[in-house]
Homo-oligomer: 986 residues x 2
């Protein structure tokens, strides 16, 4: 009743010093059963130890409990089952004990109420786990505080059962050779392989050459088909973890707390954490060949020095599961494709650098002989100035604002399409090689929060019912939350999001005000040095303020989005994630791009003209763009925000904060566990518990998507953006890898067949980028006005005279009183120039927009239409030309289908012969034999001409068997003709 | 050896007069076995009857042949099998006979070589059919000419076998209630049903109330699960036909002709035709209740008087198969959705009619007091004219060119999106109720043409090999055609298509020349009546010429596309169809829309201005638009081409030509068969053979798609287009239905899960329509200039003075010599007006584009950008808001999944109990029993808490079984998040 009678046979917990049993703390104390999952709960400090003395001892002494409701091992069972058989017989008894022990715990003196309840819930939950076939081990010694671990092992029959339910695909014995290219292709690919050699990570058994094993959904009926070398390692650790998680997720707790699943228990504080174990320490200690997967990942993937290597994606997937594998694969594809974009960007920038000295407009601007007298930049305090003093910005502007930029914008729009298409192919290749085709989404449990609120609603309804008993009885109990229940949440959502939008806009506006006031104040300063640096100082400080505001709001918006999504009470976790992503994306996108949008499309457009400037707060003139054009300002804004965001978020938020958190945790834990650390080395579960829990990929994706926006949306203004993104991502991959390998608890290996909503966001951004780049080129840059000048107005057909053409005349006598410059030495100035297309003062409709203005505007708009439709058309063609499914995959799928059918036919035949031999021999005339015949008959009656030649025979047989897992594969692949998707509409 | 010994038992062919045996000619002469397929070949007239005397008799006397290689009927067999058992025993012998007979035919005197060979091929082919399990009946009497029929019957075992291979879904016994709406929804839907009553076709057993039978892929192992009332009717006639076709398609002919499938044999002339039989006569003769499906279709669907009814789509699908069913369903959805579009179109038109008398621009144009003197319309001969004489066109123009048109254009763009989305939902609903989800494409045979060319290539290669024997031996035999083989085809294709494009453009240009010359000639005519009717006459005749050219080229292009696609040598029929459709669409689209495009965007834009007109052939001025604007011309062009095309193609091509063909066929056949007709009434196969063979749905779809173009592409100019399309389609549906029911041979029931490439074409046209409508509104209509005038130039803010504003001044002294009007009474005219925005003669840059021109152009372009992006955005939202899969379907799928799993679990349990009772009783300790346990164990070991409540139990069980046909359904439905389709790219 207290200690299981098998204690002398099974090594107990306090024997970890024996070398075989310890095994780096990855096994139960018998050293045989792998720890697949760990549940942790904290003993509360205030736990009344006195009262629970006997109860806790009796509980803790039950160190290994296990259930025994398995069928006795059958004749076909293997060694592992045989080994387990000895254990199980005794365990069968211990199940009874658990229940009795539960009863006892109830009977014992009351613990502190909450603690006691939790204790009971834990006991019921773990008993139910045992009933589900899992094996459980608890810490033996009596703990009064600190974490207490419950370790879970899934034995082979449980693994088999669950693998079948989860339709986990496993390799069969059947393998086939991948088609080798012959001739020229072959030698090319071997050269390629040799060139790639240094970039390949050194991962053992990664490339199984050109052989691929057919895989098939696991089924206990077909055990002989699979390549089972050892039952302990057939399912890898990630899969085992997933299987246990699956059981934990659906195990109910009826008597004590009416909930389902471990996540609710964690949410209710019954447990503190639940996680699968890492494969061991990540530091390589032993021989290179004996590295575990975590060590391999650390060495070959998570080191910064490995930055030039490909990622060992298959191993990542094996260790962390498909969802995380897909993230890193996606990141890899993105980073790889940034390389050509960076190169083209550098070339375009180089073109700007090379032509800056021959570019006529900037030469004209710098030409002091042309001597354009410009109207003052501020009222009163500022003086007239010469355009040639702005020579610097003009030259800088040319670096980014040159004809190559147009080419680059088109290139990058197509690049975005290409990237998405390429990723689609890669995703399909991966889901083929990872056997993800045809997986279906699991039905999900409602989130704990949802359940709580539903419960409340039910109770409320029942109370109402109790009140009005006259009403008809058949009123249904509330089965789900309707929109009425969510209305306050939705309302809160909309108002909050509007408020956040307002906040963002006011932040942008605040910075504008800052810029306007500071430049006005500085312009009034008597110090000439201050005056000369106005623009640089103001721009730099303003952008930095912008950056800081963005970073702060970014964090705030992240939390707000989370809070708002909770208010919506989404039913399932997927639902929750999707809504959170959309909201967070909307807010963060607004936040990051609002100032950039302002600079690109609004700055300087509402400044008015000399003589009728637009004022804010009655005093300050609206700001204008630099003389070199708005594009250079956009470029500065974009580059600083992009670089600053990446550097600060990467360095401080991604490296610093986790370290800080870890430090705090360590400090917290240290005091109580200090003395134990001295007693014995920490087990793997102790080490893992000290790590940070994994909290989803959303932040990682979000960061990259925002970056993708910098690379695609305004790329026309900053051709070096891809380069900086590339540099960042090379580090980012290793940084993330390091985080996953060393700093996070191992996440449960989640399945996913695509990157989900992120793809749609990416694709939406790609579309948006086309129109934004069209507008940037035509409205922000000077590209169109130059073209118009050259072909419509220029006398010589060259750019000479362009600057003169863009400047309008202003009669200084038209200044409003008090706004003319106060300085004295201006007697000879009668007209000043300003950058706009307006009629000169001597025209009949002075200061109205001139014909040039309208013709340039027409050209700008025509360019937008042309650019947008051209790029959209090209994108369609690119997407149409690149097939979604690589040809090799299609061929392999066909081959696999054929092979699998052959395999099953073979098996069917054998089975038939077996049945025949069983039935026919004893009573050859029995009716059962007649029934058995058709089993084979269905294949043998098929016509197969003796020389069917063109595949009549095999084809017919192919169709014969109905193995829909392959048809799954075929039908789940997106096909060109059938892609009647959501996005066809536009 | 010559006559099967069972002749006395089985009624032979010459007994059709016995009432039971005739059965309307749908059965073998035994009156029991249904004729599922008919093969026809023609005896050549020159057939040497003398020589083959004995052979043909021996062949023809073998009237009923059948194979007997079935297992003897098992104990579980039912009555039908029992009935057939008697026959089969004798038939077993006749198989031997066939082969011997084949041998004999060879031994007999030589026929005419080709005929003899065909005869042998037919014999081998039919022998192979027998071997595949089919039963075959031939005409008995010796025929010397005329068609000879081979009738094929598929017995139950063959049907079962093939249904299993083809994964045909059949209803199981399990049924479930569809969810009934309760409360308000229920009463609403019953009211709706009552309102709909008169529109519902009267189809027996169509609505099985609210019960739906679960369906499942047919499997011979699970016969007890299906709802088999009679083995003769379990598979309907369409399915039987499909099954036989499947066998015909893959049956090989090795010894005599090295080919595979009936289509090759037909292509080679071995057979003339092969078709399944109709269900009987379509004229209702007997009682209403006893109508066969063909009669029901004829009465309820194919009559013009039924035009207001819904289509009995389910019956159409049952009779003609899914592919044709989908076509009619699509046509129905399209026609239904045309109703709201027509209504809105009528309202928009009505708005134009109602406001024509208050519309200021047209009032101003008609106002004789304003007295605008316009510049002459042609050189010399024409005089100055007053604008008020063009009052009529101005008023007509307002009917189509008013602000409501802009709204209508936006509406129709969204309508197109809505239509596509709605169709997507309908398609998914249909594929759910027709059990099409998860079907996979059959692997297809190469087309006969492809095989022939491949054979030639192989032979060529072998000859080459034979020549250069020194080369290494392992050179592969050509396995497929590469691009090299197709190069001439591609080259021919591109050049031909370019040539066709050129042809179309020259046709358009020719009509332009016609218009220019005729109007010039008519203007020079002295007759004043001729002069006054110039514009009407010229426009009308030109459009009619255009129409005739379009109709002729349409037919030519259809054949050219076919010819070009043959040149490309596509491998499979699907491939062929796709390429053909694309090519035909491209050519026909160009052909139908080129003149319309010209009028919309080019006419009048290159006419120059007074004093510097543009001339073609040095003599004729380029044509201008009517004074009322180009839109009215576009409207006339569009309406005449659309209506003319529909009327002529519908009436002449679709009704007339088939009738003519039938007549010709009948005349051809009449003479030889005359005497036989007197002998006995024609059998069903004779009747069906006299019908026109079915040649695919491509022309039907193509007609509708071109119509969809008229409705969507230029709808801004002709709001009544949807109405005319609706009227046409109401007739079209019944016309097509009539054709299918009465005039075509029954097509093989082909499966299809969507309308394929047509959807993409539709979606592409929807996208194109947005940009085209944007351009039509902003450039062809006067909408934008009016807006600009009202808000930028009008003094009063009204439209008064608009006409004056759009007319520029021309100083008549600036006419080039000889181009000024020759008439004499013009002394007082110094300036004339013309429609353009140009500087007046007294300006410094006279006759240059004025500022107004550029501002209007800017506004036009801005409008295009705004319209395009707004509509695209709205379309995206519409597509996003409407879920692809209707909610009810999702729920039903979930329920079906659950029910199916339950059903199978039940069955599994029963099976297990059976095995247990079999195994355990005799030797209860055998290892086999241990093996059998897990079968049940895999479900019973699942934890299912006693009060699992929230679905823990059923959910867990749901996942338990792996019935992928349902997961197929779930995964094949397009999901929002995963719709990474081709079209996301733009």
């Amino acid at each position: 009743m207290q200690v299981s009678p098998s204690e002398d046979k099974i090594p107990v917990v306090d024997a970890p010093s024996s070398p075989q049993a310890s095994s780096e703390g990855l096994y139960f104390c018998d050293g045989l059963r792998k720890v697949d999952y760990v549940l942790v709960f904290h003993h509360r400090r205030h736990g009344s130890l006195r009262g629970t003395g006997t109860a806790s001892v009796s509980q803790d002494q039950l160190s290994i409990v296990s259930n025994g409701n398995f069928p006795p091992p059958s004749g076909s069972s293997d060694a592992a089952a045989g080994r387990g058989a000895g254990l199980r017989r005794e365990e069968a008894a211990s199940v009874g004990e658990v229940f009795m022990e539960l009863g006892m715990a109830r009977g014992s003196e009351p613990m502190e109420a909450a603690d006691h309840e939790m204790h009971l819930i834990r006991q019921e939950f773990e008993a139910n786990l045992l009933e589900a076939g899992l094996e459980v081990e608890r810490d033996r010694e009596t703990k009064t505080h600190g974490p207490s671990f419950t370790r879970i092992h899934a034995p082979w029959p449980v693994l088999c059962r669950e693998a079948e339910f989860l339709k986990i695909k496993v390799p069969t014995k059947q393998s086939y050779e991948l088609k080798e290219e012959s001739g020229f292709g072959s030698s090319m690919s071997s050269v390629w392989r040799k060139l790639n050699q240094p970039f390949e990570p050194k991962v053992p058994h990664q490339d199984h050459g050109s052989t691929k094993f057919l895989s098939h959904c696991f089924s206990r009926d077909k055990l002989h088909m699979y390549n089972i070398t050892s039952k302990d390692t057939f399912f890898d650790n990630a899969t085992r973890g997933r299987i246990v998680y699956e059981i934990l997720r659906r195990t109910v707790c009826v008597r004590t707390c009416q909930t389902i699943g471990i996540s609710t228990l964690i949410a209710n504080g019954v447990y503190d954490a639940a996680f699968p174990l890492h494969d061991g320490d990540f530091k390589v200690t032993g021989h290179l060949e004996e590295r575990n997967d975590r060590q391999v990942l650390f060495e070959e993937w998570a080191r910064y020095l490995a930055f030039y290597k490909y990622q060992p994606i298959d191993l990542v997937r094996k260790y962390f599961g498909e969802k995380i594998g897909l993230y890193f694969a996606w990141l890899g594809v993105y980073t790889q494709l940034l390389i050509p974009a960076s190169i083209v960007g550098i070339i375009v920038f180089g073109y700007g650098v090379a032509t800056v000295d021959t570019n006529i407009p900037s030469l004209e601007m710098c030409d002091e002989r042309l001597n354009f007298t410009m109207c003052p930049l501020c009222d009163g305090a500022c003086d007239y100035w010469h355009l040639s003093t702005a020579c610097g910005t003009a030259r800088a502007s040319h670096l980014f604002d040159n004809p190559a930029t147009v080419f680059f914008a088109i290139f990058m729009s197509l690049w975005a399409v290409l990237f998405l298409e390429h990723w689609k192919r890669r995703q399909i290749s991966l889901s083929f090689s990872w056997d993800l085709t045809g997986i279906e989404e699991d039905e999900e449990h409602p989130r704990p929060k949802y359940e709580t609120i539903l419960l409340e609603k039910r109770q409320r309804k029942q109370q109402q019912k109790a009140k009005k008993k006259k009403k008809k009885k058949n009123e249904m109990v509330a089965e789900k939350l309707t929109w009425k229940d969510r209305l306050p949440g939705y309302f809160m959502n909309i108002s909050s999001i509007l408020f956040m939008f307002g906040l963002t806009f006011s932040a942008v506006f605040g910075v504008i005000i800052y810029r306007i006031t500071i430049s006005a104040l500085m312009a009034m300063s008597p110090d000439p040095e201050t005056k000369s640096n106005v623009r640089v100082t103001v721009t730099a400080t303003a952008v930095i303020i912008n950056l800081v505001v963005i970073l702060i709001l970014d964090e705030i918006y992240g939390s707000v989005a989370l809070w708002l999504t909770e208010l919506e009470i989404p039913k399932t976790e997927t639902n929750f994630e999707e809504r959170l992503i959309l909201k967070a994306f909307l807010l963060k996108f607004m936040n990051a791009y609002a100032p950039i949008f302002y600079v690109a499309f609004f700055k300087g457009r509402f400044a008015g003209r000399p003589g009728s400037y637009v004022y804010v707060f009655n005093d300050y003139r609206m700001e204008e763009c630099a003389p070199g054009g708005c594009l250079i300002e956009l470029c500065i804004q974009l580059s600083i925000i992009m670089l600053g965001k990446q550097l600060i978020q990467n360095n401080i938020f991604e490296i610093g904060i986790p370290k800080l958190k870890k430090l705090i945790r360590a400090l917290k834990e240290k005091k109580p566990t200090q003395k134990k650390d001295e007693e014995r080395p920490p087990q793997q579960w102790n080490l893992d518990y000290a790590l940070v829990p994994f909290e989803g990929l959303t932040p990682e994706y979000m960061e990259m998507i925002i970056q993708f926006g910098f690379v695609s949306l305004f790329v026309a203004s900053f051709p070096l953006a891809p380069l900086f993104a590339l540099l960042n991502n090379v580090i980012e991959i290793r940084l993330d890898a390091r985080k996953f390998v060393t700093e996070l608890r191992r996440p449960v290996a989640a399945r996913a067949k695509d990157i989900g909503i992120w793809y749609n966001i990416l694709s939406g951004m790609g579309k948006l980028s086309v129109i934004i780049n069209a507008f940037v080129i035509s409205f922000t840059s000077d590209f169109v006005p130059r073209l118009v000048y050259q072909y419509m107005y220029s006398q010589t057909g060259t750019m000479h005279g362009f600057i003169d053409h863009t400047l309008s005349f202003f009669n200084v006598s038209n200044f409003k009183p008090g706004t003319a410059p106060h300085s004295l030495d201006q007697g000879d100035i009668t007209v000043c120039r300003y950058k706009d297309y307006r009629e000169p003062p001597w025209s009949s409709d002075a200061y109205q927009f001139s014909k040039q203005y309208w013709s340039v505007l027409s050209a700008r708009l025509a360019f937008v239409i042309l650019f947008q439709n051209l790029v959209m058309f090209l994108s369609l063609i690119v997407a149409w030309v690149i097939p979604d499914v690589p040809k090799t995959i299609v061929e392999q799928l066909k081959r696999e289908k054929k092979l699998l059918v052959d395999l099953f036919l073979q098996e069917e035949k054998e089975k038939f012969q077996l049945i025949q031999s069983l039935f026919v021999k004893p009573n050859s005339q029995s009716p059962a034999a007649g029934q058995a015949f058709p089993v084979l008959g269905r294949y043998s009656t098929l016509p197969s001409g003796p020389t069917a030649g063109d595949g009549g025979g095999p084809r017919a047989r192919c169709r014969a068997a109905s193995f829909s897992q392959i048809s799954d594969k075929m039908s789940s692949l997106p096909r060109k003709e059938n892609a009647n998707s959501k996005h066809t509409a536009v």
